[in-house]
Subunit: 457 residues, 3 copies
């Protein structure tokens, strides 16, 4: 099962160490503490009358940690549903997230504006780096089980870079609002990943088909991921919104959207699944679409009512996507989307962009009061037109699809130790696997009912 | 194993979608942002000199997220101890919690006072909705494995409503203090659920007896739930107490109560369990009783010393309840309490109410200083008499038992797709189950020791 | 498998209950709320113009909860990697942590200064108690699988006491800085545990060798522990640093150190492990070494660049330690270090102390501004010399090794129900084990593919 092609003894260490050394050198030359993490600068602020509470750390660190949990536990465990790919799901998720957050700090720093030639870092850059990482992990979901960790690192290098460019165009050049990243994170990550999956299409993937499914306990591990993503999504969407009512409102809108989405998901799953039974795939994924779909409008005066409608719609299209669209994507478009990211991040992300455009267009001074300036007019002179948001969405889709296309071809080079068609979705190719419980006679003995009884006697 | 009676293709979607549509309509007509989530109103406060930090979000959101984790991960995974009911434990917990928190927002809003015909929502209503949800999940524990998701949704509709009524009587009419809900959440949820379980008594449940127990890994999943509940209980009890010393003290009292409770639980478990061994049921449940038992008095000047005594007692009665009382409840009173909620929430809740009554009666200006007014005299003109707390407890028990009785009879109607006696505690009846690991020849091959060796070779 | 020697019916209850009663009595006589948890005292502060936000609770409680998760979930699940020791790993972790945090409150209170004969408790004492507990759990890792819970409680009593003494000497007498505990927590806990393991050396441990390894799902449970430790380490290192830039900077330095450490770990693991495959032992442990190694210097102006170099080094030595040093420790020094704490906490802790000494020695007013006073000059009149830090490290090592030696001999007494060599790493000796899934005919039937198909039909 292991041969020289997939042996990573040289490839993975080289990738990890070269990338880390490059990062360390760039951090050494370019990165500085910002005003709130630098001892001297912050104590100057204190001397000028600031309180320690004005340090952004206290506004954002709890949200940051929730986002961090989503990235490392949420995404990592959500993908453990595959029966023999748990080590890789959690482990590669861990590796590429740890890499991407460093690389994202640099790329976002370059693009979003340097301070005297230096990138300033603090809690907000940490959250933004985690966000960018989330986008990479979405793409990872599309190619899960079919890629080597070296491919994933290369993909991360490119995707993070393009993410930063797209984010700059959408948020800074076009001045769109997208605090929870319906466009910049979810739509971008999904379509980038889908395009990579398209280029890496494996016509003989059915040779590994028997491993491309879950078992009982792997589905329970995956639910850990799902539930953490679901619970902390309010923190995700509100992590970088403005202090005060904005953070508060965004968290609450997301909470309601997700709750409504969950009811829609259970209802629809029982309708479309076999024999009126619930399908774990829907519960694990579609119940989260409500968080994606209020990523743009969540900070606006969407109201709980509006949030619930959006969440309900998102859950509905996500379940329907899993049932009806995914097979079509695979058969007609030759996109093998392992985790169904099109249904969880793609379509709900586009829905989120549309909802955001409409909600922004409806914003008035009458509804937002002085909050209008704070929320919108920092970027626009008037409330944004839906046209601008539409352009943002189009740019995002364009960069994602084109970037994914190019990345796919780069990843197709036969130098990264990718798994053969016959051993996809299998940890054993990249991980030393432990022996199985019960494979030793002594253990089996202990585990027969008679022995267990004796043991407890 | 599936037949038309338990086929939920129509019933579950109808329940989910009708309920969600009703909720959305009611939210549309009745629910508004409160002063701290509304852009215009909050910016007025800012203009009047408030700081963004005065927004209650920053006082309570970290606690809210901890409570959220308890509701969705804590309760959900605690119940995965059943060997073949993990999907339902986590999944139905997820469904009814997502429903109940929305419904609770409405019911609590109705009952606790509308503002010009509108229900105002913000972080405090979110926490209170999660609290009410916790009560429903406690009742779920009593009927776990024996109910369909449609029954659970119907139960939630009624229980949430009665919870709000009882909470109003206890906290507003009677003016009792119960920040952590020893009475309103734990006692109420437990006795409501026990009464429902009584009415739904199944004389032939022993036909499913072989599934009503744990296996090795299901007990480990359950420990995830236990530990999260244990760790975050300080946040639960302090989430809605007054700012400042009250939140601080409540969290600390709960922390000490739980620590002492854990020592008592391990000690007692080894005494009563077979052959001096520890019993996972005790560890998973009784170690938490200390959090329940300081739900009322935790915000008072109970002292760490007092908290530890209460926790120690709670752990003791909880273990003894599991060992000696639960069999009696089942045999004599015909109450099949799957999770033993009587031992974890019922008795410790009543203990908590008593401790709260005594502690409140002992409160003096000398001990509390100006805190006395802040803590007690908002509701009473003098420190509360134990009599008032006793009435509160009696009302809670009365509404819970009567409500559970009526709910039980409603749930007994043969229209909800309840499982037959032979297939209780079994996911397969409501969930599409994955094939088992090792059931495919290819996988089995991989998993024999020889193959594993080859794989690693 | 059970005999009178390992039957804990008397021993464990006596240990738990006697210890808890002693603790409760000492708390009753000695422990008081501090100014911020006492109703009267805090309301005096409020009357004097303080805001509720000045209550330290709001600065530290989110970090405390993250630390709490590390102690109970992080350490607990990290150790579940053993195939048949999951109940004990999580369960004994739970027991000794619940004990140690109470005992630590007393010991740290005694040693660090009483207030009018009383120990004052609040959020900071809670964090410090959790820190001390962490040290005990590190030692637990060294003896995992080979000790009874009674031995572990006795070990905790002694280790917590010596921890408090050492912490007092290092932080108060010598005035060293060690906010994240590279020395006081990690170095101390590791070498204490290693010495205990040395004294408890079992020449015939290979009789249990087949259980001293993981299985597929136990490794996934362990990853829950790893990821939580990794994510929340920034909170650990920053939990008791000064408000403002210090907490902010410490969290960020730790975040970068861990990210770089992870890349180094993956790279090195593929180099040294069999056939270019990744080894779960490395990923689960070495990726965390970056958090240990910035425990001292993390609060200083180490810069992200410096943090990454330290993290990279820590990951490297940790993987190399697992590969090359652990076997030597076992064969030559007769130290059977079950979890490899020497590689995760020992060497990286010493590295952290050295890095801290160097970073402190380089501190200048020019870099720290007024922060210099705040950070260093509270303890020293000038910036600390590396010599002082070296003495601190030497004292820590001395107390840990000597303390571990004595503790080991005390634990060697044949009165604690320790497991025989043939049944180490086995839950069944101290826990009632559930029957196995599939051991009942009914269940097996359900689980054959044919039946599963029927079930889903």
């Amino acid at each position: 099962m292991t041969n020289s092609a997939t042996n990573l003894r040289l490839k993975l260490p080289m990738a990890c160490i070269i990338l880390e050394v490059i990062i360390i050198i760039l951090f050494g030359t370019l990165v500085q503490y910002d005003d709130e993490t630098d001892a001297k600068l912050w104590h100057k602020e204190i001397a000028n009358g600031s309180s320690n509470y004005d340090n952004d750390f206290y506004y954002r660190y709890p949200s940051f940690q929730d986002v961090h949990v989503m990235i490392f536990i949420g995404f990592g465990f959500l993908m453990t549903f595959l029966q023999r790919y748990g080590f890789s799901s959690v482990g590669f998720n861990f590796l590429i997230a740890a890499f991407a957050l460093q690389w994202a700090t640099l790329m976002q720093g370059f693009v979003h504006g340097m301070h005297g030639g230096k990138i300033h870092v603090g809690i907000e850059s940490m959250i933004n780096a985690d966000f960018c990482t989330g986008s990479v992990l979405i793409s990872f979901g599309a190619v899960l089980g079919k890629t080597s960790p070296v491919q994933l690192l290369v993909m991360s290098v490119i995707e993070v870079t393009l993410f930063a460019v797209n984010e700059f165009i959408v948020l800074t050049v076009l001045g769109a609002k997208d605090a929870g990243g319906s466009m910049t994170i979810h739509t971008f990550g999904a379509y980038f990943g889908l395009m990579v999956a398209r280029v890496l299409y494996r016509p003989n993937l059915d040779k590994s088909k028997h491993k491309n499914c879950s078992v009982y306990h792997s589905d329970l591990f995956a639910m850990i991921g799902t539930i953490y993503l679901w619970m902390f999504w309010p923190s995700f969407n509100s992590a970088v919104t403005a202090h005060g009512d904005d953070q508060h409102r965004t968290a609450m809108n997301t909470y309601y959207s997700l709750a409504a989405c969950t009811l829609a998901t259970y209802g629809l799953s029982a309708v479309v699944a076999h024999d009126g039974k619930l399908d774990m795939v829907h519960i694990q994924n579609a119940a989260l679409a409500g968080g994606v779909a209020v990523g743009t409008a969540g900070e606006m005066m969407l109201t709980p009512f509006g949030s619930m409608i959006v969440g309900f719609l998102a859950g509905t299209i996500s379940v329907l996507g899993f049932k009806f669209l995914s097979p079509i994507l695979e058969e007609k478009l030759k996109i093998q989307d392992t985790c169904g990211v099109h249904n969880l991040h793609g379509m709900p992300g586009v829905l989120g962009a549309i909802v955001g455009a409409v909600t922004a267009a409806l914003a008035t001074k009458d509804v937002y009061g002085d909050g209008l300036v704070c929320l919108f007019l920092t970027s626009w002179e008037s409330v944004p037109s839906p046209g601008f948001m539409a352009i943002s969405l189009a740019v995002t889709l364009g960069i994602a699809l084109l970037g994914g296309l190019i990345t796919g071809f780069i990843l197709k080079l036969p130098i990264y130790g990718a798994p053969p068609d016959t051993i996809c979705f299998e940890d054993g190719i990249y991980w030393e696997l432990p022996g199985e419980e019960g494979s030793h006679e002594e253990l089996t003995t202990v585990r027969t009912p008679d022995e267990a009884e004796k043991l407890n006697a």
